[in-house]
Symmetry: C2
Subunit: 114 residues, 2 copies
């Protein structure tokens, strides 16, 4: 029950759902997600922690960067199923469409290192 509720709670925020929809297209680092969503960096880190605690997302350190990617869902049937459903769900959502369209223009080389 706790695991299930944790996953549902993680999916109860539009920004977190947006992160998942973006990660369906590619791996992203924190500053890229920050640039895409237009919210503060600590806020992004906190959202990612919630998603990671729910096992919806995993991270891999690559030097200074931390790459976030979708979990394979092997640890939780809820995660596996919901991530599967989210492949089709929200594909036509205006906010998601806009995010995915500008995704190619967001590259860590241009965004960070200011």
């Amino acid at each position: 029950m706790k695991d299930f509720v944790r996953v549902m709670k993680a999916l109860s925020d539009p920004n977190r759902v947006a992160i998942i929809k973006m990660l369906q297209h590619r791996v992203m680092c924190v500053c890229e997600i920050q640039a895409a969503l237009g919210i503060a960096q600590p806020t992004v880190s906190k959202h990612l922690k919630v998603l990671e605690d729910a096992e919806l997302v995993t991270s891999r350190k690559d030097g200074v960067w931390v790459n976030y990617l979708l979990s394979d869902g092997s640890g939780s049937p809820y995660v596996a199923t919901v991530l599967g459903n989210l492949r089709h769900w929200l594909e036509d959502d205006p906010q998601v469409v806009e995010l995915v369209e500008k995704l190619p223009t967001i590259q860590r080389e241009n965004i960070c290192k200011k």
Copy 2:
């Protein structure tokens, strides 16, 4: 996006999930749910409102009683899918098992009209 988040948020509370698991077995009125969960009546009504707003649940008035039942999900693909999944999910959850076991002993004739 808003619809999806609303459904996820509705499923982010253990008591609300418990209500859904009970409604899988039979229609229930407010005071029966109250007795099963052991929480205050206004709290139950509020949870039911959240579930109804998310279209996870429907209600039918029957005189003084209001019977709550699971939605058929025809209004929302998220609802249809998640309610389908919840048929199998949490079947072995201790809290759910205990609730379902004592479900037969909870009848509105015995519970209400105090």
